[in-house]
C-alpha cells in the first residue's frame, strides 16, 4: 500500500537566530558584528568551507551527510514585522498585508480531507489551537498530553470514565429542532470525542527502542511519532518549541534549545525508521523571523530574514535560496534582508510533497524551490 505523504511542522517560537544556526564562519563580518555571541571557529560544525552548524546541532549533521536536509536561506517576507505576534500570524495565515484568521495548515487539512472522513487528519501537539490550523469546520485534535487526551479526563476511574464518555456522546448527539448553534456544538463535541477515542490506541500500540529525552520538545515529537506509528492516517502534524527569543544570555540559552531540538529530531526519525515508517514523512522547521546581525552585548534582538529547514527521506539535501549579505549597505534596518517568500516554501512542500495545489492555501503563486526528490 502506497503511503500517503505526511508533513510535520516544527515551529521555533520567538525568532530563531539564523546567524548562529547556520553560521557564516569564514565571513569576517560575522565576528565583527558579534563580539559577544559569535560562535568560535573551533566550535562550529562545518558543512562546507563557508557555512557551518551551531555545535549543539551536530546531531543533525547526519541528515546533511545523507543528503536529506535542505536549508532554505533568507526566508521571510517583504516589510518584515519585528513583532512576534504579528509576524507569527503572518506565517500562520499567509496574510502579510491584512489580518487573516484562517491558517494554511487548516486549509491544507481541508484540501486533504474535504469530506471530513477522518477527524484526525490534522493533529496539533500543544495547548489550544494554533492559528495555522484554524479553518472553519476543520476538526483538529490539539493534544497536550497524549496519555490523557480527551474530554472528562479528570475522571480517573477508567470504568467511570468510559460510562461518562458514553453519556457525553449521547448528550452531544444531534437532536432535531434545537437550532444551528446547538447542532454545531453537537458535531464539534462528537468530533472531539471520536478523535480522542481513536487516539487512545496510539500510546497503547506504541513500542520503541528509542529513548527520547525528558524535555518538552522530545515529548511532543515522541507523541507525534506515536500517532504516526498508530496508522491513524494523520497527514498534518504541528508542534512548537520555545522560546527562541534570545535577547540576553543567548549563548547558553540558544545552545540548550538547539541541543534539545536536535536530539529530539534525531530520535524522532530514528523511531520512525525503526518502524519502517519514515520515508513518507517530511519535517519542516521555521521561525517567525531571524535576529539582528549585531549583538546587543548579551544576545540579539528581533531581526528579519531567517532560515527554514526541511528534513526527510524524500528531501533533496543542500542549500536553497541565498544567504543574505551581511554588508552594512545590504542590511534592512540592521537586519538580514529576506530574499525568499515563505509562502513559496509552504507551496513547495504542499505541492511537491503533499501533492496539493497550493494556490488557494497560501493565497497566490509563489516561487517554489525544488527540495523534494521526484
Amino acid at each position: 500500500m502506497a503511503k500517503e505523504p505526511v508533513l510535520v511542522v516544527l515551529q521555533l517560537s520567538g525568532g530563531n537566530d539564523y546567524l548562529n544556526t547556520i553560521i557564516p564562519y569564514t565571513n569576517p563580518l560575522y565576528k565583527d558584528y558579534r563580539k559577544v555571541v559569535a560562535i568560535p571557529d573551533d566550535q562550529v560544525v562545518p558543512l562546507d568551507n563557508e557555512y557551518g552548524l551551531h555545535p549543539a546541532m551536530a546531531p543533525l549533521k547526519r541528515f546533511w551527510d545523507e543528503d536529506k536536509m535542505a536549508i532554505i536561506h533568507g526566508i521571510g517576507y517583504e516589510n518584515s514585522s519585528r513583532s512576534h505576534f504579528r509576524s507569527m500570524d503572518i506565517w500562520h495565515t499567509c496574510e502579510p498585508d491584512k489580518v487573516g484568521t484562517e491558517g494554511w495548515v487548516g486549509r491544507a487539512i481541508k484540501a486533504v480531507d474535504p469530506r471530513k472522513d477522518n477527524v484526525l487528519t490534522g493533529v496539533n501537539f500543544g495547548q489550544g489551537l494554533p492559528r495555522a490550523m484554524m479553518a472553519p469546520g476543520v476538526p483538529v485534535a490539539s493534544i497536550s498530553n497524549i496519555q490523557a487526551y480527551g474530554v472528562l479526563t479528570g475522571i480517573t476511574d477508567e470504568e467511570q470514565r468510559t460510562k461518562a464518555l458514553e453519556r457525553f456522546s449521547r448528550v452531544y448527539s444531534p437532536a432535531i429542532g434545537h437550532g444551528p448553534v446547538m447542532e454545531y456544538l453537537s458535531n464539534t463535541g462528537l468530533d472531539a470525542l471520536k478523535g480522542a477515542d481513536i487516539l487512545k490506541i496510539a500510546p497503547q500500540k506504541y513500542s520503541s527502542s528509542v529513548e527520547y529525552a525528558n524535555n518538552a520538545i522530545a515529548k511532543k515529537l515522541r507523541g507525534i511519532a506515536m500517532v504516526h506509528l498508530a496508522d491513524l492516517n494523520t497527514r498534518l502534524f504541528y508542534t512548537q518549541h520555545s522560546s527562541f527569543d534570545t535577547h540576553a544570555s543567548q549563548l547558553p540559552w540558544h545552545e540548550q534549545l538547539l541541543k534539545d531540538c536536535s536530539a529530539a529530531i534525531v530520535d524522532f526519525f530514528a523511531d520512525l525508521r525503526e518502524h519502517d515508517a519514515s520515508d513518507n514523512v517530511v519535517m519542516i522547521m521555521f521561525s517567525e523571523f531571524g535576529r539582528r546581525v549585531r549583538d546587543n552585548g548579551s544576545g540579539t534582538d528581533h531581526g528579519a530574514g531567517g532560515v527554514a529547514m526541511v528534513i526527510g527521506d524524500r528531501v533533496k539535501g543542500g542549500y536553497y535560496s541565498e544567504y543574505p549579505s551581511m554588508k552594512l549597505e545590504d542590511l534592512q534596518e540592521g537586519d538580514l534582508a529576506p530574499n525568499y517568500d515563505f509562502r513559496g516554501f509552504y507551496a513547495s512542500v504542499l505541492e511537491q510533497h503533499m501533492g496539493l495545489d497550493p494556490t488557494e492555501i497560501v493565497g497566490g503563486n509563489f516561487e517554489q524551490l525544488s527540495f523534494m526528490k521526484n
Binding site: 513583532s83 489580518v99 484568521t101 483538529v140 472528562l152 479526563t153 467511570q160 461518562a164 448553534v181 454545531y184
Partner: protein
C-alpha cells in the same frame, strides 16, 4: 428556595457579571430584581465595596509593574473573578472587545492595563466622553497609527475604524452609513492627536499629546456637516447619528441579550430582534448616551427578562473561566495560578488584551472549535467535579441538607444550586438515569464515612456531567 424571581436573577448575574453562587443569588433575591439591577449599576450608592487593589498588589510582584504580557492578563482575570462590582468588570470587557486593541502591536503591558482600567472606570458613563478618552488613549493611538496621522501626510486608520467599528458601523438596513470622504475628513480632524514618547523597554506609560502644529485646521465636510473640525467635533457629530445609536444598541444586545451574527454581516442582516435593538437605541439616545441608563433600560426590559433570552448566548472564554472560578469559590484571595488562568483563556481563543485584530474576537458559536471545546468542557467539569473546591463543597452540603431525594430531585437540585441551569429534557433524563442506576430511587447523605463519600462521589459526578453538557456552554 427563593422567590419566583430567583432564576431571573441568576440570568441577570450571568449576563451582568460572571454568574453567582447560590448564596449570592439568595441574598440578591431577598432584595429583589430591580434593587439588584440598581446595586449593579450604582454600587457606590449601595455601599458595595470597591475592588481592593492593595490586596493583590501585595502578593503578586508583577501586579502593578507587569513585565510580561501574562501579567496584565492575570491582573484582569483576577478582577473578573473577584471584584465585588461585576458589572463594571463586564462592561470593561465589553468595551475591550469593542475597542479591540492588541498588545501584539502595542507591546506595552502597562499600557494595555491602563486601557482596561479606563474601560472599567468610565465604562458605565457617557459614551461620548468615552469615545474622546479612547481617541486620546495612547495604546489606541499607537495601535491605529494615529501617531502617524499628520497634517501633511494623513493616516486614515483611526478615522476609519472609529466610524466602521467603534460608532456608526459600515451600514444599516442595507445602506452605507458614511463615505470614504467622511473617513478622510475624520482622519484630518484627528491629526495632531498623538502620544508623548516613552523610553522603550521601561515601565513608563505613554501620555496623550496634542500637537497643534501637526493638526490640519482646514475646513472639512463630515456626514453633511461643514466646519474646521477637530477630533472632539467629529465625536459630537458621530454620537448624534441614528446609525451610532443603532450600532451601539446592537452591540449591547449582542453582548447582554442574545448572540447576533458577526459584526461584518450587520450591514445586510437585520437584528434578530429589531424592536428590541430600536428600543435600546432610543433609550441610549434619550439618556444622552449614558451607558448606565441604557443598561438599566435593557435589564428591566421584557426582551431581556423573557426566558427565551436565558441561555441564548455561548459563553465567551472570560465567562467560562471567571464564571467557573466564581462558582467554585476560587481566587477570592490571591494565590498562585492566575497566570495559568490567563493562559487558559488564551487556549480557549480569547487571549485578554490581545484580540486577533481591531475587529475583536468572533463571538457566539465561533468561540467553539475542536480545540477550545475540549478545554472548556474539561475546565468546567474538573472544577465542578472537585469536592475540594469550596463552591463545589457548598453545593454538596446544601443538597445534603435537603434530606432524602429522588433521582429527579437530586439532578434538579444540582441544576438549581449551580445557578438555575437548564438542560434539554433528554440531557436531564440521561443524568437522572445515571443517578437511578448508581444510587437507586432514594438518595440521601448518610452518616457513616462510606455513605458520606458515596454521596459526595455521586453529586460531584452529576455536577461534572452537567458542567460538561452542551447546554452548559451557554449562559
Amino acid at each position: 428556595m427563593g422567590s419566583k424571581d430567583i432564576a431571573l436573577i441568576a440570568h441577570l448575574m450571568r449576563r451582568a457579571g460572571f454568574g453567582a453562587t447560590y448564596e449570592e443569588l439568595e441574598a440578591r433575591d431577598a432584595k429583589g430584581y430591580e434593587a439588584t439591577v440598581e446595586e449593579l449599576l450604582d454600587p457606590d450608592s449601595y455601599g458595595v465595596p470597591e475592588f481592593d487593589e492593595f490586596i493583590p498588589a501585595r502578593f503578586y510582584p508583577a501586579y502593578e509593574w507587569p513585565t510580561a504580557p501574562t501579567h496584565p492578563q492575570a491582573n484582569v482575570v483576577y478582577h473578573l473573578i473577584s471584584s465585588p462590582r461585576p458589572l463594571h468588570e463586564k462592561m470593561a470587557l465589553f468595551w475591550h472587545m469593542l475597542f479591540a486593541t492588541s498588545d501584539a502591536k502595542v507591546n506595552g503591558n502597562h499600557q494595555m492595563l491602563q486601557q482596561f482600567h479606563m474601560f472599567r472606570e468610565y465604562g458605565l458613563g457617557d459614551y461620548r466622553d468615552l469615545l474622546v478618552r479612547v481617541a486620546k488613549d495612547p495604546a489606541m493611538i499607537f495601535w491605529l497609527d494615529n501617531n502617524e496621522n499628520h497634517t501633511d501626510a494623513p493616516n486614515e486608520n483611526w478615522g476609519r475604524e472609529l466610524l466602521e467599528l467603534f460608532s456608526l458601523g459600515v451600514g444599516m438596513d442595507g445602506h452605507l452609513n458614511y463615505t470614504e470622504d467622511d473617513v478622510k475628513a475624520a482622519a484630518r480632524a484627528f491629526t495632531g492627536w498623538t502620544m508623548s514618547y516613552r523610553i522603550p523597554g521601561l515601565a513608563y506609560l505613554w501620555g496623550f499629546e496634542y500637537k497643534e502644529e501637526d493638526h490640519d485646521d482646514g475646513e472639512k465636510v463630515f456626514l453633511g456637516h461643514r466646519g474646521r473640525f477637530n477630533g472632539e467635533d467629529i465625536v459630537d457629530i458621530i454620537v448624534q447619528q441614528p446609525a451610532t445609536h443603532r450600532f451601539i444598541a446592537r452591540h449591547l444586545y449582542n453582548f447582554f441579550v442574545a448572540d447576533e451574527v458577526q459584526v461584518a454581516a450587520w450591514k445586510d442582516t437585520p437584528p434578530r430582534d429589531p424592536d428590541a435593538v430600536n428600543a435600546i437605541a432610543k433609550a441610549f439616545k434619550e439618556s444622552g448616551y449614558e451607558i448606565k441608563d441604557t443598561l438599566r433600560f435593557i435589564f428591566n426590559s421584557d426582551f431581556f427578562k423573557d426566558e427565551r433570552a436565558w441561555f441564548a448566548k455561548v459563553k465567551n472564554p472570560a465567562e467560562v473561566v471567571a464564571g467557573t472560578m466564581r462558582l467554585v469559590g476560587e481566587y477570592k484571595e490571591p494565590k498562585p495560578g492566575l497566570t495559568l488562568l490567563a493562559w487558559e483563556m488564551g487556549f480557549q481563543s480569547q487571549e485578554l488584551l490581545n484580540p486577533p485584530s481591531v475587529e475583536g474576537w468572533h463571538y457566539g458559536q465561533e468561540w467553539i472549535d475542536s480545540g477550545s471545546l475540549v478545554r472548556r468542557v474539561n475546565l468546567m467539569a474538573d472544577n465542578l467535579g472537585d469536592a475540594t473546591k469550596p463552591g463545589t463543597r457548598y453545593i454538596i452540603d446544601r443538597l445534603a441538607s435537603r434530606g432524602g431525594m429522588s433521582p429527579e430531585e437530586l439532578v434538579d437540585g444540582c441544576l438549581e444550586i449551580m445557578g438555575y441551569i437548564r438542560l434539554e429534557s433528554e440531557t436531564r433524563q440521561e443524568y437522572i438515569d445515571y443517578v437511578k442506576a448508581e444510587a437507586g430511587s432514594e438518595v440521601k447523605r448518610g452518616v457513616s464515612k462510606k455513605e458520606v463519600q458515596a454521596f459526595e462521589q455521586l453529586v460531584t459526578n452529576v455536577l461534572r456531567h452537567i458542567a460538561s453538557s452542551k447546554e452548559y456552554q451557554f449562559c
